[in-house]
């Protein structure tokens, strides 16, 4: 068991390390799907360089990391050699996989205990399962899903800062039931950097309400206070580092107003290239509301019994609709899919989504080359691919959510689809 676990990590580490030392590293890190304005290492290098030259990097267009990030990356770039830097990226990725594995273990245990309760209620005795093996496979699959996910490998090899963001995400997920402090710290760091992950406090609070019924209100208050104080402190530290609030416009403002129209895997770039100037602010507002506010409450109400699935949906929605998405974000929530192994029997669009993903992954570099280099295609081709990619992800998400609803139904009413001998089908009403 442990052998397999260890060999996975060693293999994943070797793949990453070899690719980083190959000539493909530069090609990969220059890809628009991998590096966006928010996470490109080249821009981080530029920001750190400007900072060391005594120029405020936020006066320019290129740097959009937080001042805390600037401080950390400054330290990294000044004190770490190239090799250690490579090792740092690989190690961070492996650590993320460990945390994801732990998250999976926790979730699977939770799921098994939940099912036991349900079975007791239903008085059904199905075939006896090996709980330990379920937990183990889930853990194994999730970590392997992260370690061998091509998107994640490219993301790591491309030296994006999303590698560190993903680590924070995994910390946030794993600490949701364990430690309020680490959860708040990771979510506030993520919020400072990317704004959208602030929604993760909702599943965290739901977990708190689930855990203890006695001191519920107190715990929630506790959580909110800790989160608020940490994020205020972080803003204070940022201000202390830079000496002004100018960074806000270059980080959060940059995310919200979408001034950079460089193509990426998202929907924003071509839309805001082509939108009529008159309606720009209307559409920026509606797109931002769509990604950050619109689904929080409805999904939270619906998925209140399964906060992990709620967190997953938030992550997926953010990865699809955020202003500068990259495949590192997509890869992260995709590696969580094995958590929903019990839902796969209810999903319907796995094949379509798989094909879409595969074709988009192949077509994106192809049409990019045709548009930018050989100039035999135009922007519409690449837009088509990103559109298909977004739609595939939307299908994946809605499919999983439908499956969870069906699963809930099936647990309650059995999987039999007959009404007094006549065939019937499940409908949402």
């Amino acid at each position: 068991m442990k052998k397999q676990w260890l060999s996975n990590f060693i293999l994943a580490g070797i793949i990453r390390f070899l690719l980083m030392n190959s000539e493909y590293q530069k090609v990969i890190s220059d890809r628009v799907e991998v590096s966006t304005a928010l996470n490109s290492w080249k821009r981080v290098t530029e920001g750190v360089y400007l900072y060391n030259c005594g120029i405020d990097p936020y006066t320019g267009d290129l740097f959009h990391e937080t001042p805390i990030g600037l401080y950390v990356f400054n330290f990294i770039q000044q004190h770490l050699s190239q090799w250690i830097l490579f090792c740092l990226f690989v190690f961070t990725d492996l650590l993320t996989a460990v945390f994801l594995g732990l998250t999976a273990k926790q979730y699977a245990t939770e799921l098994v205990s939940k099912q036991k309760v349900e079975e007791k209620l239903c008085n059904e005795n199905k075939e006896t399962r090996n709980d330990a093996s379920i937990v183990y496979t889930s853990m194994m699959y999730v970590s392997a899903g992260y370690l061998f996910n091509p998107y994640i490998i490219l993301n790591c090899v491309g030296h994006t800062t999303t590698v560190f963001t993903n680590l924070l995400y995994s910390i946030a997920l794993v600490s949701m039931t364990r430690s309020i402090f680490w959860n708040c710290l990771s979510i506030s760091l993520l919020t400072l950097q990317g704004l959208y992950p602030v929604s993760l406090i909702v599943p965290a609070i739901i977990y708190i309400t689930h855990s203890s019924s006695i001191k519920r209100e107190k715990n929630i208050m506790n959580y909110v206070i800790v989160f608020a104080s940490i994020i205020t402190t972080l803003f204070g530290i940022s201000y202390y580092i830079m000496g002004s609030w100018s960074f806000l416009w270059s980080t959060l403002g940059f995310i919200l107003t979408v001034p950079d129209l460089r193509p990426n895997v998202g929907l924003y770039w071509y839309f805001f290239t082509e939108v009529f100037e008159h309606f720009r602010w209307l559409f920026i507002a509606s797109f931002q509301i769509n990604v950050s506010l619109l689904y929080i409450v409805p999904l939270a109400l619906r998925l209140r019994h399964d906060p992990m699935l709620l967190a997953f949906s938030y992550l997926a929605i953010t990865a699809i609709f955020k202003s500068y998405p990259c495949i590192g974000d997509v890869g992260f929530y995709m590696s969580l899919l094995p958590l929903w192994k019990h839902l796969f029997q209810y999903t319907q669009q796995g094949f379509i989504v798989g094909c879409f993903m595969l074709f988009c992954t192949v077509f994106a570099p192809t049409v990019w080359y045709q548009w930018i280099y050989s100039r035999s295609a135009n922007a519409n081709f690449y837009f088509g691919v990103t559109l298909a990619f977004a739609i595939a992800q939307i299908f994946l998400l809605t499919d999983i959510l439908f499956a969870s609803v069906k699963h809930e139904f099936a647990v309650r009413h059995g999987i039999n689809k007959d009404i007094s001998g006549n065939t019937a089908k499940l409908l949402l009403e």
């Binding site: 071509y270 290239t273 082509e274 065939t423």
Partner: protein, 575 residues
Amino acid sequence: MMHFKIPLLSFIFITFIKCVSPQNDFFDEELMLKPLPSNHVYAYFQFTTVWETTKDVTTFQHSHLFPRGLGEIISRHNVDELHLTLTKGLWHYQKWGYPYHDAGPGAEITTWFHKDVKNVDDEWKGLTNALAGLFCASLNFVNPANSVSPEYTFRPTGVVDRPGGVVDSVNSSHLRYSSLPREIVCTENLTPFKKLLPCDSKKGLATLLNSAYIHNTNYHSIGIHFRVICSNAICTKTSLELRQSVSLIYDTVTDVSQDWSIRKFFGMGIRKACPLATLSNIYIDISSNNTNQIYELVPSPSAKIVSLRGGQLNEIAVYDIRSHSSKGIFNIQVLYNTTHTAGLNYPSILYANRYIIGYGQERGSLVTKIYNNYWQTLDIILLESIPWYLPVYLHSVTITCGTKNIIPLAQRYLPGKERKSPYYLEFILRLPPQSVTKFSIEMDYSFLKWQEYPPDANHGFYMGPAIITALLPIARNYTALPLDGSTITSSFNASREGYLVQLRTESLLISLPTPDFSMPYNVICLACTAVALAFGPLHNISTKRLVLKRVEMDWKEKLLSFLMKKIVKPKKKEE
């Protein structure tokens, strides 16, 4: 008797006017013709107006020789110094030496505002818009997004108020420089330019400025240079100086004969000097005569001047237009005794070129190569003003000379901001003797909004020239006027400690990636569809509940099942 009296009377009258009139100003018109070693001829017109007065609000309410239209703009926007050039073509420093005024392709404008000006950006906008109207040039496209305030490259060339005698109190925050390399210079700019002259284009050298001939040249540049100068040696009084210049490069290589004349270049001879001008001269640089080219001047010049300046010996033939034109229209011809021979070219000691490397429309590198042909090190200032849509990475700057890295002596950098300010880069470099120094910086190509692309978007975007400023130790191929001089005459025998040049490199054409301009509606619809595809199911999931429903059959299925029953039932019975 009357023959004598009228000129005498008019002379007395003019002298009287001159004594009484508060307008203490004079006007000079000059033309320098310089045969270049590459068998081109450099024609440089300079019209100088000097007005002994102080620059204040009331000064420009009355003007005599100074163009009032320009004067009003200068006083309204409180301009201390103004340089505006409109240029077509690229000056070849290797072949042609150094011009009187360096000018980058397109329109270029440099302005020093008075130190009391509070909102420099507003004045800058007002000034460029006013000048756009005055010269029919697209200077109204100058905005903060393509203007910089370089710290080292530009120094005031005129008198600056220095409070408390502080020498280095010049503040570049009151300086604005901008270049519009896309600007096309044509007749509509030349006409208003000529109208600023006291004699318009009716008399004097300005009659030679016929657009058909001027715009046929290999290089043409018109310029306006306004500054405040000292009118006495101790500088207790100031004058306003306006120099209007026209630089032209004529090609004599392609013609059958190498001979050239005023009539051949400008389509007509010279009729009369401008009566308002104090000095009205034509100079021809005949240093190359009797080397490997032998030519004679017809008619022979009024005088010959030998000018020794910074190690360069020039012989100049001077024609006084007044004395030559007394017999009517006159023409100056240069007749060669030899067949086509190229002159001896002493290469300029400093020149540069610039290009882009990389392919595709994603990213590239900007390379500036600076050549030092001198036997000693040269200190130069390199100014790069890179448009905001070509973001550059400062950490990728490499300055190499062969295999050796060169560390800049000083460096200034201001990162650009989208749609707000360009990337401004200034380096002071010490070039090793006899070397080629390569400066390169990586850049990305931006993706713009569809309405920000100019018409014919695939033509590309122009990027203004880099400016290389240096104080040359010798005056080889150097022509420019000394800082304390106003007329071409002042450049003869004007040896100084250094000779200031400001080289302009090529302007570059960059083709940025373009979106498809025909489909805004489609894109909006498709992207919104994707959003709706997510909204619909998520809305359903979160608001509705699952129910089992009997499948209602439509009439076809009913019929089918009915028939099936009919067929299947008998069989069952048989069983």
